[in-house]
Symmetry: C2
Subunit: 328 residues, 2 copies
């Protein structure tokens, strides 16, 4: 029997989940839920119904895992606990500072319903967190470094778009090669924000807009750009559409650690991602953890978990025996 997946919300991440489910023979997409008018939502999978979000309760017994695809700012803090009252759930909650509070809320709901919830799944938080944890446990005497990019930052692109005279914009976060090389050398450098990343902006301005003023507002914007070396390119909307419509991302998690009688041996553990599509990759991680949530719940587990709490084998369709034979 297949694991029956529900998708809650239907934006970029949800579209990625819809496609990712097709890559898993032991799963099927059962339904999509939206807060819009369902008749206006056309999905890519024939034969799968789209329901209004309020009707989710009616499919309580037909969905094994609900994958929540809303945003961390306003959607997930209420949706994940609500859905955990009825379903095993997965979300990609990524507001790092609010994870403990979100965890507690979801844990309460899931324990009450006897369901399994896994929150903050994706690559950061998610696979990057896992790699920081494994590497730190193995090499306690060491330093962690996380670099992001090269990739599109949605938040920074939005911040540019809010500037007067800006029609459209895309911002790339780029790790500095010299900083990466210094970390990989094992020298355990201290790096400032400016040392680690540069920001490159492609901006479409209104005709006749004051480009100098726009550029100055961007590079001096506190929190977003002021602490970085930032480059601004003004281009046409056509060029932006043609060359900057993708949503690539990625990054590096590096642990530089030491062992030996006097720390004389250096070790570098590096995990990196180079992603053509940030939402499709994030979705792929969510779907793998949906398998884990289903299995854990079958075993009687209830409550909220994170990637730290899930034994890796739960993610794989292979049996323990197969994994030991082929992958160990």
């Amino acid at each position: 029997m297949s694991i029956r997946i529900g998708i809650f919300g239907y934006g970029n991440l949800a579209k990625g989940v819809e496609l990712a489910v097709r890559n898993h023979k032991d799963m099927e997409l059962k339904a999509v839920f939206t807060r819009r008018d369902p008749s206006g939502v056309k999905i890519k999978t024939e034969g799968v119904p789209v329901y209004h979000a309020d009707d989710a309760v009616k499919l309580k017994d037909e969905i094994d895992v609900m994958i929540l695809c809303g945003g961390s700012a306003t959607d997930l803090p209420t949706q994940t606990p609500q859905m955990a009252e009825m379903f095993n759930v997965i979300d990609s909650f990524d507001t790092h500072a609010k994870i403990p509070e979100h965890f507690d809320n979801v844990d309460k709901a899931a324990k009450k319903s006897g369901k399994t919830a896994i929150i903050s799944v994706g690559w950061d938080p998610g696979m990057f967190s896992l790699n920081r944890m494994y590497a730190g446990a193995i090499l306690p005497d060491g330093e962690d470094y996380t670099f992001w990019g090269k990739g599109v930052s949605q938040g920074h692109s939005d911040a540019i778009r809010r500037i007067e005279g800006v029609v459209d914009a895309k911002q790339y976060t780029i790790p500095v090669d010299a900083a990466l090389d210094a970390v990989r050398s094992g020298s355990a450098p201290e790096l400032t924000t400016r040392d680690k990343h540069t920001r490159e902006c492609f901006v479409v301005a209104e005709e006749g807009a004051d480009l100098e003023r726009i550029e100055s507002e961007i590079v001096n914007m506190p929190n977003y750009f002021a602490d970085y070396n930032t480059t601004v390119h003004f281009i046409s909307q056509e060029e932006l559409n043609a060359n900057h419509s993708g949503i690539p991302h990625g990054g590096f998690v590096i642990r530089s650690g030491k062992t030996g009688l006097n720390g004389e041996h250096k070790h570098i553990i590096e995990y990196s991602l180079k992603l053509d599509s940030n939402p499709e990759f994030t979705a792929s991680v969510l779907v793998a953890y949906a398998r884990a949530a289903y299995r854990l719940n079958q075993e009687g587990s209830a409550g909220c978990k994170t990637v730290f709490d899930i034994a890796p084998a739960y993610l794989s369709p292979q049996s323990g025996e197969e994994l030991r034979k082929h992958l160990l």
Copy 2:
């Protein structure tokens, strides 16, 4: 209370375990066991006793986890099941083809005694296996690539030393940059053994030995060298000691996968290690998993496990709350 660690065997790996334990505040080294005369074994930690292997049973209640540091060929197949009758155990069994059989033997012993055993811990098998598994579960539509090096292969160095006229030798396994670049490009290339690695040998020959014959025996040696491009350098024992006495190693596990409606988006997941000391790093992994074995057994878990079966949080000294707050 500290987790009390025992070390069984006292070679390079065991010496690494002895040093690694010092990096963990919640652990203490309790005893070392050897099959040699204990009075002749001098360890690096003052105040820790060295016992004969046969006396392990007497310390049954004083050791929380026994870390087995013998070899996979003849030691571990008998030692790990034996020790699992008395202790929670960790080993680094790395004969891939015999893992299922070893697992079954250890599982039987550990289930009978109610102890927790974790086998095949280290980096390959171990962290490399984990990364192959995670990446494959996330990107089912893709290819795995494993590269080893640059590093010393003990087995290949030994094979050279057995050739007539050879006094000493060190062999380095080196991944081919062009192959790594091709994999990282996302082109999912098919690579032969020769494409992926080269082998570089530093050989000390007897005075007057036929160097041409030795070189020919090396590069044409079936299994070990015949399928690779191999370079042989004849050097003096002094030079070998001065420049090639380290035991560095490392490697790369790369998953090249696709997502999208027609696989139009490529993703690269890469995990790599660059290690100054292969035994000290392997030992660091064993010690982190010793914490997991101890905790799992405290929870009542019994039987044999591998890295696939251990939730990451068990490796860390931090609580679930701390991990969620600081590392997620």
